[in-house]
């Protein structure tokens, strides 16, 4: 076994490289595309050698898109801002509501607690299109249509169940004795929640928050139907690049790069935090 370890390591390296290339290549290609004009992108055969241009990024940032058919106003930066605002606010709200709820579900088996928890999860079962029509009706009656508030509310359908169920699991993993010990030491239940349960479930809460953020960021349907142009996130905003004079691949690519960047940065940051949290962990230790 020991003498094969070099060979084994080499094989493992090759396998890993293949997997990485397979998954990373599309992202890499999009990244390249974002620095090309539509002409070079559509050239056959495609080439990695090209003169990079920042015109796509410039168009996105200035909001002026010049095509063969003329110039067009696009609100990409506003869309990006909307995405950030909607996702951050939704996740924050979902955490504020969901984490205490998860704690309650984990620690107190009250009558019907399982039913309520399941009902909340079931919101994730229904395809969004199913609820969309009645939802649109209600929102118009309530005057929530085309408001940030309304969108954030709807986004709770995505974020809240996710956070509730993931965080609940983490709370359940904390030995009840650890919390009892803190109570018996003379601290209130709220202090116990703050000083013991929250820090110990921290990695789980971070993971749930991150997932919820990604789901919220990637949402398309709710925003498409319930929001008008000035409140749309990037997922919907990218539609603007499908113009009457053709599809603007270069701008789409740079839009993707810009819109992926925040989630990617967040994921990388949170990953470090998660690993730290988990290795400090031994929640059951």
């Amino acid at each position: 076994m020991e003498n094969t370890s070099t060979l084994e390591r080499t094989l493992r390296l090759i396998a890993l490289t293949l997997v990485v290339v397979f998954f990373m290549f599309p992202i890499f290609w999009i990244f390249l595309m974002s620095f090309q004009t539509n002409e070079t992108i559509l050239a056959i055969p495609p080439s990695i050698v090209f003169t990079p241009t920042l015109s796509n990024y410039a168009a996105l940032i200035t909001g002026k898109l010049t095509t063969a058919a003329g110039s067009l106003d696009i609100a990409f930066m506003r869309n990006l801002g909307n995405s950030i605002f909607l996702s951050v606010t939704s996740v924050a709200l979902a955490l504020v509501l969901g984490v205490p709820a998860a704690y309650a579900f984990a620690r107190h088996k009250f009558k019907g607690s399982e039913d309520i928890a399941f009902t909340l999860l079931s919101f994730r079962f229904a395809p969004p299109l199913l609820v969309l029509l009645p939802l649109t009706q209600y929102f118009q009656w309530l005057g929530l249509s085309d408001t940030y508030f309304g969108l954030i509310w709807v986004y709770q359908l995505i974020c809240l169940p996710l956070i509730l169920w993931i965080v609940r699991g983490y709370f359940e993993d904390i030995s009840a004795d650890v919390e009892y010990a803190y109570r018996i030491a003379g601290h209130t239940w709220f202090a116990t929640f703050r000083k013991i349960a929250l820090p110990l479930a921290g990695p789980g809460i971070a993971a749930a928050g991150l997932l919820a953020f990604i789901f919220a960021w990637n949402n398309f349907v709710f925003a498409l139907v319930l929001a008008s142009a000035d409140k749309q996130p990037v997922t919907v905003g990218a539609l603007a690049f499908v113009t009457s004079s053709g599809i603007q691949y270069g701008q789409i690519a740079s839009a993707i790069v810009l819109s992926v960047a925040p989630t990617l940065a967040l994921a990388l940051y949170a990953q470090r935090y998660l690993v730290e949290g988990l290795s400090l962990g031994a929640v059951k230790g």
Partner: protein, 372 residues
């Protein structure tokens, strides 16, 4: 110091009755051991007293005061847990200090309090470590220190030595009484180890299935166990149990083992003819010469040394197994045929049907000073 009284405590989880109308009095400054197999309800009982769960019925009085409306954080109890229950994200210092920070003591007072108890438990050199960096023994000492640091009048210790190795457990068994003496607290101590129970308890409450089966001093329980089950729980090796039907003669009650008469002095004549179980502690049986009075022929099956004892498994002519125990280093047969003698004075007689103790003569066993 304080007193603890439990009155008719019942606790159910769904249809499962964990504690069944249990009553218990713990005196001021007493160490009471709750002893019993897992699932007997010992831990639930401690949690009820601590106030982290509530009883379905019954009353808990601490220092004579009903604590039904007092939350866990205001009961002023110290508790150590079987799994230590240390806060993994806090240093040993912060773990131990947690009962002091709750009372808003000054920083200096907290540091002094932690230092004092840490020194007592010999962990003052690891106070900055997080639980992950502590050895099992240090974790266990940290958990004890946390329970003791606030000098609580009532201490609940839930099998604190369960998760440490045999050596540490022995060490702590000798150290705990000294430690508890410095505290002067009233202690409820839970364990599944009968040696711990006998070594640490002023009194032992034997629990099973949510009830207290017997309560008394270690000597009471060892010498007059209320029934067969309790007799089996105390003693290593386990007590020998043989089905017998006592007979009566001019010289009192006797039983026959392999056609050899073993007289049971002091046993009431009413047991004659009744189907009984004879209980013989392994240390009350000795090897003897073939011709000696009351010598019972046996075959030695195996010799298995047990710490400072030598335990021998022998087979009677009727293939009944008997364990014989003697101090290590004393002579005895290791194989083949041999003879044993039974000390009838140290025998127990239980009713076969109910398992209840009919009579024990064991109080007159040769324990210096403990003769009844």
């Amino acid at each position: 110091m304080t007193t603890l009284q439990l009155k008719n405590i019942t606790k159910r989880y769904k249809t499962n009755t964990v504690l069944d109308g249990l009553s218990l009095d713990v005196a001021d400054g007493e160490t009471l051991v709750l002893f019993g197999p897992s699932g007997a309800g010992k831990t639930v009982l401690l949690r009820l007293v601590a106030g982290v769960i509530d009883p379905d019925e019954g009353q808990i009085l601490i220092g004579g005061e009903d604590v039904a409306d007092i939350d866990a954080e205001h009961r002023g109890i110290g508790m150590a847990f079987q799994n230590f229950a240390l806060f993994p994200h806090m240093s040993a210092f912060d773990n131990i200090a947690s009962p002091l920070t709750a009372t808003r003591s000054t920083k200096d007072a907290i540091a002094a309090g932690v230092q004092k108890v840490a020194k007592l438990l010999k962990i003052d050199h690891v106070l900055t470590h997080h639980p992950k960096a502590l050895s099992n023994g240090q974790k266990q000492r940290t958990a004890l220190a946390r329970a003791l640091v606030g000098s609580p009048p009532l201490l609940l210790l839930d099998d604190p030595l369960r998760n440490v190795d045999a050596k540490l457990r022995f060490e702590m068994r000798l150290e705990l009484p000294r430690l508890l003496a410095t505290q002067g607290a009233t202690v409820v101590y839970v364990t599944q180890d009968y040696k711990e129970a006998m070594a640490l308890g002023d009194r032992i409450a034997v629990m099973s299935q949510g009830r207290i089966r017997q309560i008394g001093t270690p000597a009471d329980i060892y010498n007059t166990p209320a029934d067969i089950e309790i007799a089996r729980l105390f003693g290593d090796p386990t007590i020998n149990l043989l089905d017998v039907t006592p007979r009566g003669g001019a010289d009192g009650v006797y039983v026959e083992l392999s056609n050899v008469k073993v007289s049971l002095p002091g046993m009431p004549a009413s047991v004659v003819g009744q189907i009984c179980v004879l209980g013989l502690r392994p240390e009350s049986i000795t090897f003897t010469e073939a011709g000696a009075a009351g010598a019972i022929p046996v075959t030695v099956e195996a010799e298995t040394p047990l710490n400072e004892k030598t335990v021998t498994l022998v087979l009677t002519v009727r293939n009944r197994e008997i364990l014989v125990s003697r101090p290590a280093g004393t002579p005895g047969p290791t194989s083949g045929p041999a003879h044993i003698a039974v000390n009838g004075k140290a025998a127990f007689l239980f009713d076969k049907a109910s398992g209840a103790l009919i009579r024990s003569t064991a109080t007159s066993l040769s324990h210096n000073g403990e003769a009844a």
